[in-house]
Amino acid sequence: MSTYVYAITPADHPLRLEGLHGVGEPAGELRVLKTDALGAVVSDAPEDLRAKRRDLMAHQSVLSRLLDEGTALPMRFGLVGPDDGQVLAALDERRDEYGKRLKEIDGCVEYHVKVSRDEADMLREIVAESAEIRELNEVTRERPEAHTERLRLGELISREVRTRQDAVAESVVTHLAPVGLGHRVGSATASHFLNVSFLVKRDEAAAFARAVDEEVERQGAGYVVSLHGPLPPYSFV
C-alpha cells in the first residue's frame, strides 16, 4: 500500500490529530511516522485520488492543525511514496535539509493577497485621461470596419492597463514585504492581476494586517483586495 504524505515536522511536534481524517473515500486514517529528528503525518494513499473538495479540505485541515500547534513543512497535495519504509528513509536521507527548512519557517505563517480591479472602472479612468484613446474610441464606434484603429485602441488601452496594474502590484509588494520575511509573486490570472504570498512571523500578524489595510487605503476605490491566512507556508518550503 503506497503512502500519502501530508507534512514533515520536527520530532517534538505534539502531532495531535484527533478529529481529523485523511484523503480518500472512505477517509484514510492518519498515522505518524517518526525518526529521531523528524516526524511525518501520513495515511494510506487511496487508489483513485482526485482533487475533490473533501480531499483538498482533508489535506488543508491536517496542515492547519499542525500549523496551530507547531512547525510543519506542508507537502504539495497528492504526494505519494511507495510505502512507509520509503517515507522514513527519505526523512533520514534529507534530515539536515528538512531540519534547516523547518528552522527557517519556525513561528511563521503564510498570508496570501489577491488584488483585482473592476474593468469598467479602470477603462473609464483610462478613457478620461487620454485624448488619443477617446478619439480612437469615437472612430471605431462610428466605423466598425476600422480594423487598424481598433487594434491601435486596444493596444493603447492594454498598455495603460498594464502600467496601472504594475504600479499597484509594485506598491503592494513594496509596502507589505518589509513586514514579512519573504514574499513570492504568482502568475496574474484573469480575475486577479496580483497574487502574492508573504511569509510572516506569527507575532507580526497584526502588523501585517495593518499594512494591508493601509495599502487598501492608499489604492483607493475600484480595487478589491482579498487577504487569506494564516496559512501553512506552502510557498516557502
Binding site: A45, R50, A51, K52, R53, L56, M57, Q60, S61, S64, R65, P74, M75, R76, F77, G78, L79, V80, G81, Q86, A90, R94, R101, H112, K114, S116, D118, E119, L123, R124, N137, T140, R141, R150, L151, L153, G154, E155, I157, S158, V161, R162, T189, A190, S191, H192, D213, V216, A221, G222, Y223, V224, V225, S226, L227, H228, G229, Y234, S235, V237
Partner: protein, 146 residues
C-alpha cells in the same frame, strides 16, 4: 455587501475554512514541498480546476476585447447620464442615487463575487467546475441572499 463593494475591503480568513478553499487552491496544488523520489498521483481533473486562466495582456485577442469593452463603455455612460439629469427632483435622490450606485457598483460586486465566489465553488466537487465564471457569480449571489 454593498459596503464591501463600495470600498476595497480586506477579508481575513482562515485557510481551513471551506469558504476560502478555492482561493488558496493554487497554493495547495502548486506549492508545498515535494520529495524528489516520490510521485505526485496523476490527478485527473486538476487542470480543469485551474479555471482562473493566466492572462496574456499583449495579444491581438486582448486588444480587440479591450477595444470592444471601451466602445461599449462609452455608449453605456452616454445613455445613463441624461436619465440622471432629467429625473424630477423628488425622485432624484432615490432613483438617481440608485442608478448611479448600480452603475458604479455592478462591476465591483462582480469583482467581489469572483473573489468570494470561488469559495462558493469550493463547496461543490471542484472537478465538476467548468470554468464558467458567470455561473460561479450567480450561484454565489443566490447563496448570499440566504
Amino acid at each position: 455587501m454593498s459596503v464591501m463593494a463600495q470600498s476595497p475591503t480586506t477579508a481575513p480568513s482562515q485557510g481551513g475554512n471551506s469558504g476560502t478553499l478555492y482561493d488558496v487552491l493554487e497554493l495547495i496544488l502548486d506549492r508545498g514541498l515535494v520529495i524528489d523520489a516520490f510521485v505526485r498521483v496523476s490527478l485527473v481533473g486538476i487542470e480543469i480546476l485551474k479555471v482562473d486562466v493566466r492572462v496574456v495582456v499583449a495579444s491581438v485577442d486582448t486588444y480587440l476585447r479591450f477595444a470592444e469593452a471601451c466602445n461599449r463603455l462609452d455608449l453605456e455612460s452616454g445613455r445613463k447620464a441624461p436619465t440622471q439629469l432629467t429625473d424630477i427632483v423628488g425622485e432624484t435622490t432615490e432613483s438617481g442615487a440608485k442608478g448611479k450606485t448600480k452603475g458604479a457598483l455592478s462591476g465591483a460586486v462582480e469583482a467581489v463575487g469572483q473573489t468570494l465566489g470561488r469559495g462558493r465553488k469550493g463547496d461543490e466537487e471542484p472537478e465538476s467546475a467548468d470554468g464558467d465564471g458567470k455561473k460561479t457569480t450567480s450561484r454565489r449571489s443566490a447563496a448570499r441572499e440566504e
